[in-house]
Subunit: 173 residues, 2 copies
C-alpha cells in the first residue's frame, strides 16, 4: 500500500536555490488555498497572504534579512500574516499559522516546486509591512520563498523517535 | 495528474467520533514520526510526545476539558509538548509545533484513522502534566485524539481565497 502523503512528508526538504523559471500565479494561489485548509482554533482562519513576484519588491525585502540571497533568487514569495482582528489566543493562532505553512510547503512540493520557510526576517517585520504596504493590523508570521528547485541532493536530519517520545502510557493487553 | 497530497489536505476533517477498534502502537509511532519531520527554526525540533491508550489515564484527562467526551471515546491520545529547554523563539516554536501537528493529522488520515486537534484542554495544562507525570520542563501544546472514524459525512468551510489574499504584487509580464 503506497502512502503518498507520508512519502511527501518524509522527502520534503527546504529548497533555497531556484532556477530562473517563473512560478505560475495559479500555482501560488493553489499553495495558499492548501494553507487555508489547515485547521485553526474555533475555525477562525487567522491567516492572510501577500503574493509577490515583482523584482523590485523582492530586492527591497532581501535587504531586510541575512537570507537575502534566497529571497533575491526566488521567483516568488508568499508573505504569511496573522490578521490581528482574528486573534483569539496567541499560542493557538501561531500554531495554526504553522499548520497553514506546512500545508503550503507540502503543496509546493507536490506541484513540482521547491520552497523554504523564512523566519529570520521577522526581526524586521515592521519594515516588511512598510515595503509591501500592508497595515499594522497584519502581523508577519513568515515569508515562504517558492520556485523551481535547482537539481541537487538535499539531506536533512531528525532526532531519533525514541528520544522524542517522553513516555507511552498503554492499556494492558 | 493526480495530486494525492493536495487531495488529503482538502478532504481531511476533524474526527471526534470513533468506533471501539484500538489503534496499533506502530501507527501511533508513525504519526509521531511524521510530526517530527516538520520543519522548525534552526531545525531545533522542539516537540515531544506522550502516547496514551490507558483507559484510566484517558478518563482523568477527559475531566480536564469540556470536550471530555471526545477524549473518553478516543482509543488513543497523543499529547504534544514543547521542550522548554529547546525554545529559541516562542512564536516560531509554537508555529513549528503547529506544523508538526498538521503532519500528524495528515498522517493519521492516510493510515485510515481519524484525528482531532484539541486545544481547549490547554486551560488545564498543569493538571495534564500532573496526571501523566510529565515535568514542568514540558509545555503542553495540544492533545491529538486518534481512532477509527465512525462513518458519517463531515463538512467544513473555509473563507473565500480572495478574502485571504490581501494583495498580489506581480511582475509586469
Amino acid at each position: 500500500m503506497t502512502k503518498p502523503v507520508l512519502k511527501a512528508i518524509y522527502k520534503r526538504r527546504s529548497v533555497r536555490e531556484f532556477n530562473n523559471e517563473s512560478v505560475k500565479i495559479e500555482d501560488l494561489r493553489e499553495i495558499v488555498k492548501a494553507g487555508s485548509w489547515a485547521p485553526s482554533g474555533l475555525n477562525n482562519q487567522p491567516w492572510r497572504f501577500v503574493l509577490i513576484t515583482d523584482t523590485e519588491t523582492k530586492s527591497q525585502l532581501a535587504d531586510q534579512t541575512r537570507y537575502g540571497h534566497v529571497i533575491r533568487g526566488a521567483p516568488a514569495l508568499i508573505a504569511v500574516f496573522l490578521a490581528i482582528e482574528d486573534i483569539y489566543n496567541e499560542v493557538k493562532d501561531h500554531q495554526a499559522t504553522g499548520a497553514c505553512i506546512q500545508n503550503m510547503l507540502l503543496a509546493a512540493e507536490e506541484l513540482g516546486l521547491g520552497a523554504v520557510w523564512l523566519g529570520e526576517i521577522l526581526n524586521r517585520k515592521d519594515q516588511v509591512n512598510r515595503i509591501i504596504e500592508v497595515g499594522d493590523d497584519y502581523d508577519l508570521m513568515a515569508i515562504v520563498a517558492v520556485g523551481h528547485p535547482v537539481d541537487r541532493s538535499r539531506g536533512s536530519k531528525r532526532k531519533e523517535l525514541n528520544s522524542l517520545i517522553i513516555k507511552e502510557i498503554l492499556e494492558d493487553s
